[in-house]
Symmetry: C2
Subunit: 505 residues, 2 copies
């Protein structure tokens, strides 16, 4: 019952197949934008809730800033960037009129407005008004919002013109405090990815040429997809005084001197759902980690003998109510009794494709014996898929089961990552040979077609061009460095740093 | 310690003063848009959480549709409306370039995009793809989103160009089911307003001339502000087959015939916060009902004797932890220990202006006597403001106290509304005399300057013009009707309906 395309046969098509089969999102009539459907949006709501709690626990407050940014706010930035041009949505008119039977934009604006690609400039404008003294600092805020970047090759969840995200923005009275904030939020993102999404990540910072414009340091977490490509799962920028200078965020410090504030910003987006799919989905469809599943347990009645319908329904409802009274990971269990007038087998496959962690099927025999038959989604390809347990045992162990699924999913993903970070490549020649052959690299023992190479880099300017030619990236400079011994894999010259080389999304 | 303007002295300025004093929102550098600050956004988050639970309990699922709507989607609507012109934000370019040192919109779009003023058209486009048979129905979805309407006279929370809302959209296989859905959601909104926001409302439907374009029936709830003006707090539209016909949402019914679906839509917005302010704020600032307060209890240390600082802090923290372990209205208490380095009296006034329900002040004497001194925000003008209780009694009764505040706030607002719905006006002449004099109507015994008139209407076309001349509205046709006896207050002719006449926001 595999999807039309498998990871092995056609990875990009498989990705689209998973999204369609799990009914998570679809392409919209609005060019380059997506409709996030209930199962996909339900996962996003879980991510939001879990991350929002962490953001608030780390002393941030939510607020909301306008989506329209006056064009002039970009002027300074533009003047500092050679050949400035940005793919952004520009609002130029404030009225729609019918002129000779044809709808026409009317009432041109005095100043065009940019639909936020990110809110640094408009938020910095407010910070400049709010900050006068060190007593006004720190300001630590976050917003959940939609943002727009005019992608030319859109792809569901990974690159759409409009996407949803959170963006945190903070201002501090010292360099150290702002830098610490950026580091703290990277850890918060790591916690979300690893402990809630079961998606392991490598923490590090971006090389200078790939930093967020204006950042002193861009910290990032990088995840490995099942094809061995990297996905940037979140970034946290320490901005030093750069944004404060351009936005004039000044404060009187404790020595009664005027000083520019130190700022940070950090964000994750619906792109995480693309990462979740490519970390956990298999050839049958999506697998959702229990902490993120909109429903953790699905109950399907099997109504072969119609005379037993009432009994089966009341048994199923009793089970649902028992389960819903239990707590997993600090919240009540999310359980759905799927009583739609539809074939049970079709429902079972529908929820399997969606990746609901546990599917229970209740037939006449189960209630006679007071048993529960359940399927464990992550064991679809082994003996653990179909299971029988007494009603009591099932209810008593459901939270342990969910925790085991969560842990197993993380371990599987960690196993994939750990087995596919190649550290043995030490020379420029071997490096070139690897990436030349990577596309035909055989997918045996669940090995992806390309892997991460952890190796040396010399930081020289000319290597950046070489990366483009080879269509690979330096994903990050990992925090754990091993020294400067060895040869740069791009130049063959003496190296200075360990980096992660990979192809990426 | 009143605000600069009081309700009596200058109501519109008082409204702005409350928002500034409570630090809920501010005007942004983005024209006509607002920055919703943490205290205002915290209230919105509470509204979202409470309403979202109710929306889900009534079988709706959340999803997300694109914010950009192709211009052509409005063409059909435009052709049916004489003199069609809408104030909407239009995106015409997808690139920003620096041309001769000046930022310029570039890359004009083939088809301009409208920033959603509401999502009926783009959602109907998806529904048309999703619906084939009666088995695909009902579809019951909701989204939380930002929307844009190009307001020319913006006002914080009440009318801003961008605002936040939820919009529900449903499709059904029968007239009755869709009509019932629209009625159900009106009740959900009433529940939110009355039981969570402590804001009483009148339920009814709009007269035909004031319906949502394309609706068969527009249901609404209307609240009375403290100046006697009406605020539309929410609307729910039964759309019949009108939208289905224009968007081609068809299904095969149980008789194997093709039929257009029956749809509904319903929404409430951040405008509710404007209503909350004008229902509950007083001349000292905001009052937030406990169910919506981002913090329900504030604890402020009084540190006159510096040697007692540690003891006071640990007493305050013990109190905070005890309170945070308690539940009110199904959720843990939200408690803040405000230990900022700032004068206690300034903090007390800050939280009073914000309208935190209970403010506790902890000084050296309180811990000696194991007492709690607390202020009850809604009693600021009477003996109930400042209170003393033993630590144990305070903790044991805090949830009752919050419930009492919630109930008292509702009763106060109900009292205002009930006392200011005038039912005694029976003739056109008295009606005209009332509204001619309404602006000078004395504000005694907390009577607003204008009131709601509940009276008769004949439904004739010419009365609509009369309403405009008098600058009043028919707010709704309330569900409880008393018959057709009597004279229309606008025309003097024989009446057909009871309506609510009022000035409005």
């Amino acid at each position: 019952m595999s999807l039309k395309n498998t990871r092995e046969s056609n990875y990009p098509e498989w990705y689209q197949n998973v999204i369609t089969a799990a009914d998570m999102a679809e392409v919209s009539s609005s060019p380059g934008c997506m409709v996030i459907k209930p199962w996909g949006y339900g996962i996003w709501e879980r991510i939001q809730r879990l991350l929002d709690d962490k953001i608030k626990e780390t002393s941030h407050e939510n607020c909301y800033f306008p989506m329209f940014i006056p064009l002039s706010f970009f002027q300074k930035e533009a003047e500092h960037v050679e050949g400035f041009a940005k793919e952004m949505a520009i609002v130029t008119h404030s009225r729609l009129s019918l002129v000779d039977g044809k709808l026409t934009p009317a009432s041109p604006l005095d100043e065009p407005l940019v639909v936020r690609p990110t809110s640094e400039t408009i938020i910095a404008d407010s910070f400049a008004k709010w900050v006068h003294s060190y007593r006004d600092l720190p300001i630590m805020i976050n917003q959940w919002a939609n943002v727009v970047r005019w992608e030319m090759r859109p792809r569901l969840f990974l690159r759409t013109r409009e996407f949803l995200w959170q963006e945190g923005h903070t201002a501090h009275s010292s360099f150290e405090e702002a830098e610490h904030e950026a580091e703290t939020m990277l850890k918060v993102y790591e916690d979300l990815c690893v402990n809630d999404m079961a998606m392991p990540v490598i923490k590090g910072k971006k090389p200078d040429f790939d930093k967020f414009p204006g950042a002193v340091t861009t910290y990032c977490i990088e995840a490995m997809m099942q094809d061995g490509r990297a996905l940037q799962a979140g970034t946290s920028h320490f901005l030093g005084q750069n944004f404060a200078k351009s936005a004039n965020i000044k404060f009187i410090n404790t020595h009664n001197e005027q000083e520019y504030a130190y700022t940070s910003s950090w964000g994750v987006s619906t792109r995480l759902i693309g990462g979740l799919i490519m970390t956990h989905a298999d050839d049958e469809g999506m697998c959702v980690p229990p902490k993120l599943a909109p429903y953790q347990v699905i109950i399907i009645p099997i109504l072969k003998d119609k005379s037993k319908t009432d009994e089966i329904f009341s048994y199923a409802e009793k089970l649902r109510n028992t389960l819903k009274s239990l707590s997993f990971a600090g919240e009540k269990l999310r359980v759905k009794f799927d009583n739609r007038p539809k074939e049970a087998i079709d429902k079972m496959w529908e929820w399997t494709r969606k990746g609901a962690p546990i599917i229970v099927e209740i037939g006449a025999k189960d209630l006679e014996k007071n048993m529960v038959m359940f399927r464990n989604r992550i064991h679809i390809n082994d003996n653990g898929w179909k299971n029988f347990e007494s009603y009591t045992d099932f209810c008593n162990s459901i939270c342990d089961k969910l925790q085991n699924i969560q842990t197993t999913m993380l371990h599987r993903a960690q196993h994939l990552m750990e087995n596919n970070i190649i550290t043995e490549i030490r020379s420029k020649d071997d490096f070139e040979a690897y990436f030349t052959n990577a596309n035909t690299y055989l997918n045996q023992n669940h090995k992806p077609k390309v892997a991460f190479i952890r190796g040396k880099w010399c930081e020289d300017e000319d290597t950046i061009e070489k990366l483009k030619e080879m269509r690979i990236n330096i994903r990050c400079i990992p925090f754990d460095q091993t020294g400067t011994e060895g040869e740069c894999l791009l130049s063959g010259r003496k190296a200075t740093l360990d980096v992660i080389y990979a192809r990426s999304y």
